[in-house]
């Protein structure tokens, strides 16, 4: 169920600019969400790669990266780096089918 709460927190943030501002310096934002230590760390570091490997839905992750100001090519490379570092995507329907050294659209 933990991935559920991780995604729920991201979902709530993605659609609420006030929560996005709080995210920068107020981690009480996480209260009420059942998160593992790994998930908390991935969030606080803004670790796109680990969030991806943990199974966060790509649409939720893409919107999170957008408000964090992550450029598209860095977002794609962040996910590849996550798979290199932490292994294959562990849950969900956004698993990677390309190689970690492959740039499908040239980015």
């Amino acid at each position: 169920m933990s991935l559920y709460y991780l995604q729920k927190l991201l979902y709530n943030m993605n659609r609420d600019p006030a929560l996005q501002k709080r995210f920068a310096n107020d981690l009480t934002l996480f209260d009420g969400y059942e998160l593992t230590e790994e998930e908390r760390e991935a969030l606080t570091r803004g670790d796109i790669g680990l969030l991806y490997v943990l199974g966060v839905n790509g649409q939720i992750l893409m919107h999170f990266a957008a408000f964090r100001g992550v450029a598209w090519k860095d977002y794609l490379e962040g996910m590849r780096e996550g798979v290199r570092k932490y292994g294959p995507v562990r849950a969900g329907v956004y698993a990677m089918t390309s190689r970690t050294d492959e740039k499908v659209a040239g980015l």
Partner: protein, 276 residues
């Protein structure tokens, strides 16, 4: 009045957000066909535009995920995405709670839908409207089919939903247009972004053009996921439009544009008259 226009188009955020990265000739041909679709839409003189989209966690989450939801408000805000990222300014889009209420009541005779008096648009609706109603002067009715959080509604239910929507459109005095938005094969928002199964897309679009119900409904989600990626779960929107329109389709534009992450598509469908 009746359904006066039916079409489908792509909605990928990169279409606007990464426009300069596409090969100019194909990008301009694609945009020109959005323009052609806008002209056809305007010629049909609709009073409202029903946007059947596959939203991306702008409103609904797995705590309470509707298979089908219809907006029922006088206005909608969006897009939720960062403005500088999507390159579409946040704004207020006009709707009609009254029209939505009447459409929903009729749809409910056949398909259970959720309604939402609050709704935030995301790229799934904002990108098509950026091209189709650039003056934002047409009332919209946002519709969502859950294509993100499995279990997903079966394709045959997406067909039934389209038929129900058609009955609802025919039962109101307003002139109604419907546009389905989504991808066919694609692997969006992943490192696979840009992968496109053109053969699969062309076969799907051939079935859609024929409005071949049996062929359109013969896909399984397992095969879709394997052959066309999680983005292709959004064919539900195209299927609903086919059921609503009932006629033959024309694909005005199809081209894989990898940096836009999808086989970019513009299509319209004849609205077949129904017996009274």
């Amino acid at each position: 009045m009746s359904l006066v226009f039916a079409g489908v188009c792509s909605h990928a955020p990169g279409i606007v957000a990464r426009s300069e990265l596409a090969e100019p000739a194909v990008r301009e041909a694609f945009y020109a066909n959005y323009g052609k679709m806008r002209e056809a839409l305007e010629t049909a003189r609709p009073d409202a535009l029903v946007m059947i989209a596959a939203e991306h966690f702008a409103n609904f989450f797995m705590n309470n995920m509707p298979c089908y939801a219809i907006g029922m408000a006088d206005h909608y805000d969006g897009p939720i995405e960062d403005e500088s990222w999507l390159r579409i300014k946040r704004r207020r889009y006009s709707g009609s709670a009254d029209l939505s209420r009447r459409l929903i009541a009729t749809v409910m005779n056949d398909v259970d839908v959720a309604y939402a008096e609050e709704w935030k648009l995301d790229h799934g609706i904002a990108v098509p409207l950026h091209f189709l109603t650039p003056r934002y002067d047409l009332k919209i009715v946002p519709v969502n089919i859950n294509c993100q959080g499995p279990p997903l509604t079966p394709l045959k239910r997406a067909w039934a939903f389209g038929e129900a929507l058609r009955r609802a459109a025919d039962a109101v005095p307003e002139r109604i247009a419907v546009v389905g938005t989504g991808g066919i094969s694609h692997w969006p928002a992943t490192p696979d972004s840009g992968k496109i199964n053109e053969t699969w897309d062309r076969e799907f679009l051939a079935r859609w053009k024929r409005n071949d119900k049996a062929a359109l409904l013969s896909y399984t989600d397992e095969a879709i996921y394997r052959d066309a990626g999680q983005g292709a779960f959004e064919i539900r929107t195209f299927i609903s439009v086919a059921a609503a329109a009932g006629g033959a389709g024309q694909v005005w534009f199809y081209a894989p544009i990898p940096v836009f992450a999808v086989g970019c598509t513009i299509g319209v469908m004849d609205v077949q008259r129904r017996a009274a």
